[in-house]
């Protein structure tokens, strides 16, 4: 029998003569954390607060003295921290999680080192090559650690590098083309995971990472297509459509096969936004705005109904 949850106690409490004390006892037994959980919570809280405040205190101390430090001391300090945090990950007795967290910290310190370098030699803090160098240099650590939060940092850096490159170097790119590249970049993890599964290679890429990157990919495609509809980048729009539509179909079918609701919700919503943009392109008078409003309400309602029915079918089949 499955454990009793808060909603079960609420439901039974509403339809029975359970007294206040009985409901409280049920919640105390099955829902509220016991003394052991509280001790663990307080224990961890004290550690997190202690480490957090101490680390911030050290950072503020260096921030205070920063102007007066010699440039070699500044760079040396960060390089030492980097070496120590990366070096400690080679210590075998540490758990995989601790080593991964340390490597993530080391990866962040690479960026700090570049920022301090940029500050000392006035290279410009938002130069795309700063982020590009950061992204390239942590590549080996990312692949070796296979740690999801570090992969997320890696993907974020790639996106920032792309944006800054477009701003500072590739001024000839259209907005639609930029969104196409973002779509391709963010869609890679999902496609990669699917390929690995397809070739029966086991992987431990967590769902939350695939969902974040998938959402970023769909958002990029949606924005790109909407901008293309209202803008002039026809060639780039065709390229984006040729890339995005097959991927949409594949992702939709893929999630349907694996009994997951994510792309079954996100992709139809994206198509609704695109359809609304098409309608507004035809006409942006009052009547059309009313139609679009109605279209969204009806569309989302039908989408929700379809999701609930699909979920029910899967639950009944299990």
């Amino acid at each position: 029998m499955r454990p009793i949850r808060q909603e079960d106690i609420h439901l039974i409490g509403r339809h029975s003569d359970m007294s206040e004390q009985e409901i409280h006892h049920a919640l105390q037994t099955h829902v509220y954390p016991a003394a052991r959980a509280w001790k663990k919570f307080i224990h961890r809280l004290l550690l997190v607060l202690g480490v957090g405040f101490t680390a911030c205190g050290i950072v503020f101390f260096f921030a205070y003295n920063w102007q007066d430090l010699h440039k070699f001391v500044k760079l040396g300090l960060i390089e030492c921290l980097l070496l120590v945090s990366a070096g400690v990950t080679l210590y075998p007795p540490l758990s995989h999680l601790v080593r991964s967290v340390l490597l993530t910290g080391a990866s962040v310190l690479v960026g700090v080192l570049f920022a301090v370098f940029g500050q000392i030699y006035q290279t410009g803090a938002n130069a795309y090559d700063f982020f590009c160098g950061w992204w390239l240099l942590i590549s080996v650590w990312v692949w070796v650690s296979d740690f999801a939060p570090l992969w997320l940092l890696y993907i974020v850096l790639a996106n920032v590098t792309l944006n800054l490159y477009e701003e500072q170097v590739a001024s000839g790119w259209s907005t639609v083309f930029l969104f196409t590249l973002h779509f391709a970049l963010n869609g890679l993890p999902t496609l990669g995971a699917a390929l690995l599964s397809g070739f029966k290679v086991r992987h431990n890429i967590p769902h939350w990472l695939l969902h974040i990157t998938g959402l970023a990919a769909v958002t990029s495609a949606t924005f790109g297509i909407v901008v293309g509809i209202f803008g002039h980048g026809n060639g780039d729009l065709v390229l984006l459509l040729l890339l995005a539509m097959p991927v949409y179909v594949w992702a939709f079918v893929h999630d349907r096969k694996r009994h997951q609701l994510f792309y079954l919700a996100v992709i139809p919503f994206s198509l609704m936004v695109i359809a609304s943009a098409l309608l507004l392109k035809l006409s942006n008078d009052a009547g059309m705005l009313f139609m679009v409003s109605l279209f969204i309400v009806v569309g989302v309602t039908l989408l929700i109904k379809s999701l609930i029915d699909t979920q029910k079918k899967w639950n009944d089949a299990n």
Partner: protein, 350 residues
């Protein structure tokens, strides 16, 4: 469901009289219309988007030029959302209800503003409408929105009557309400079935409103309005936090007066220096309350708020970086010493 009831009966030592058919019907309906986070987000997002386009339609068609038309449609839409939910309590209609509700409030406010109604009157009408919504229906999303509209209207009074320092009264009221709502779950469930249904959306709405009010009094944007005598707002939050500590000590079986006294002194030592920023103690209170009742959403909101408020507190301190560094290092070492001293007692069960 029957097995769950049997288990609860065994634990309480008596048989319950329960409306089996109604309970099973509601459980079946909930199971059929399981609306997880994805569906709720879709409803709210879809509702907001549709509302935006509809408001755009009203602007272009110049419906806003008639205050009477705006007020009329506002009342019709709010009423429509309530009636729709009353007649068909169905998650599928949530998107339509949310759209109608938001548009209704917008139109009502715009219409009354155009008709030169005072801001106070508009706020009271919003509050009355929100209270009416809570009395008439117990839909999750609409109830949550109603609580936000009520508290948003109350907060607007704080700006207009800032000379009377009403924010102290409002924060005290919210602190008491939030604490009581979290800690009296069983009592509230038994008062009335409607309150039992409203328990979860009101808990979320009150948490968001409480953290929002704390943000209002602590942020730099409105500091000039709310900066005076902030320690008065701090007192009820501090008292509630100490009350939570009292309940936690009771749960942990700490009975010795000396140990309890030491814990209270340490808590006061941690919280009192933040008396000019009641937001920090408020965020800690939400974290403790949420953990107490196993409420994950509240725990996340409380934790994120705590990080934000404490960062803002140190950022706003008119001290040199060296002094801030010393303060932080002292705080850090204080917590680490506590961690080491309490390690044996707190890890004894592991």
């Amino acid at each position: 469901m029957k097995e769950l009831v049997k288990q609860l009966e065994q634990e309480s030592g008596r048989s319950f009289e329960w409306n089996e058919s109604a309970a099973l019907e509601e459980a079946e309906k909930k199971h059929d219309h399981q609306s997880g986070l994805t569906v709720k987000l879709l409803s709210v997002l879809g509702g907001l988007l549709a509302a935006l386009f509809f408001i755009g339609f009203c602007f272009i068609s110049r419906l806003y030029e008639s205050s009477f038309a705006l007020m009329f449609f506002g009342i019709v839409f709010i009423g429509g959302a309530i009636v729709l939910n009353k007649l068909y309590d169905n998650v599928l209609l949530d998107t339509i209800s949310v759209s109608l509700y938001i548009i209704g409030y917008t139109f009502l406010g715009m219409g009354m503003g155009k008709a030169q109604a005072s801001e106070d009157l508009i706020c009271w009408v919003f509050i009355a409408t929100g209270c009416g919504t809570l009395l008439l229906i117990q839909n999750y999303i609409l109830s949550f929105l109603a609580v936000l509209f009520i508290n948003g209207s109350l907060m607007s009074f704080l700006f207009r009557y800032s000379d009377y320092h009403l924010h102290h009264v409002y924060l005290s009221f919210l602190t008491l309400t939030v604490t009581c709502w979290y800690l009296n779950e069983a009592r509230l469930l038994r008062i009335h079935p409607a309150i039992a249904r409203l328990y979860n959306p009101l808990r979320l709405g009150l948490t968001v409103s409480f953290l929002g009010a704390l943000f209002l009094v602590s942020t730099n944007w409105f500091n000039i309005i709310f900066q005076h005598y902030l320690w008065i707002s701090f007192l009820p939050v501090f008292a509630a936090s100490l009350f939570m500590v009292f309940r936690i000590l009771d749960l942990l079986g700490v009975n010795a007066i000396r140990e309890k006294f030491i814990v209270y002194v340490l808590c006061a030592a941690v919280l009192l220096p933040t008396c000019w920023s009641p937001a920090i103690a408020g965020a800690i209170l939400i974290v403790l309350l949420s953990f107490r009742v196993h409420y994950r959403t509240g725990l996340v909101f409380g934790t994120v708020s705590f990080i934000y408020f404490i960062s803002q507190y140190y950022y706003d301190l008119k001290l040199t970086l060296l002094t801030k560094s010393a303060l932080m290092l002292t705080s850090g070492l204080f917590f680490l010493i506590l961690y080491v001293l309490t390690r044996k007692k707190l890890t004894a069960d592991d």
